[in-house]
């Protein structure tokens, strides 16, 4: 004789919950790596470990490195008493990363990356170029001290 079995499975509620992860990072280049790892961990918590998501994670980390380094070096002249504000909006279809410094800002449209063959041996100047190509969308506040980088989620 088998015993009767009843299974009650609850409907899963379709909550589409946008979560924000934010922090303030001291303006020290040595803090960039740890900060990037911590932020990526919290922002992408629960993201599967598929190769596709791993790529998105690495893309986010590169973008964070670029924006943090610029905020620390140009925005704050590496003054450890100044903090870079990072806010990551995680939604179902996209991730928006805001990096804001307390510096004077700049005009991103005036930046010329070293793409000429004669300039390729320059060590710097490729940060914005990489941001513009790695992010699905990039915008700045009018002052130019706050960048917003958008990534579409796979």
């Amino acid at each position: 004789m088998t015993s009767p079995l009843r299974l009650v499975v609850r409907r899963t509620s379709d909550v589409d919950l946008p979560v924000e992860v934010s922090t303030r990072i001291p303006s020290v280049l040595d803090a960039v790596h740890e900060s990037v790892e911590v932020l990526a961990r919290h922002a992408f918590a629960g993201l599967p470990t598929s190769p596709e998501c791993e790529r998105l994670r690495n893309r986010l980390k590169t973008l964070l490195c670029e924006a943090l380094a610029n905020a620390i070096v140009y925005g704050h002249r590496e003054d450890p008493a100044k903090f870079v504000a990072v806010r990551i909006e995680v939604e179902t279809t996209l991730v928006r990363v805001h990096v804001t410094d307390e510096g004077p800002g700049f005009d991103p449209s005036a930046v010329r990356p070293p793409l000429d063959p004669a300039d390729l041996e320059q060590e710097t100047g490729r940060g914005l170029l990489m941001i513009q190509r790695l992010a699905d969308d990039v915008s700045f506040n009018p002052q130019g001290n706050s960048i917003c980088m958008t990534l579409r989620r796979p």
Binding site: L29, H33, T62, C65, E123
Partner: protein, 111 residues
Amino acid sequence: MGFTATKDKGGVMVIQVDGQLIVGNRQELKQLVQEAVDHGEKKFLVDFAKAGYIDSSGLGALVSISKKVREQGGELRLAGLNEDLRSLFELTKLDTLFAISDSAEKALIAF
């Protein structure tokens, strides 16, 4: 996070990038290569097979060490870049500056 340097039988310094090459650790790479160059090393291979991400500071460090190695009459090659890492070299046109091989094995044959 770090670098492992091994000298292979053919005399090539193989530098493995572990995790990432970014603003926070590129100085270590530059220092490592500088010391090896000072020591008379001529052939360098930077292997990215175990690297997850790099930033523009990391690319800058590669530009810098490749210049240094060339100035001493040496040779630097890159290998093990996955599709995403490789695309960073393409979009910055640095793929035209570096000798890039698919794998460390292929790079070692090319020296």
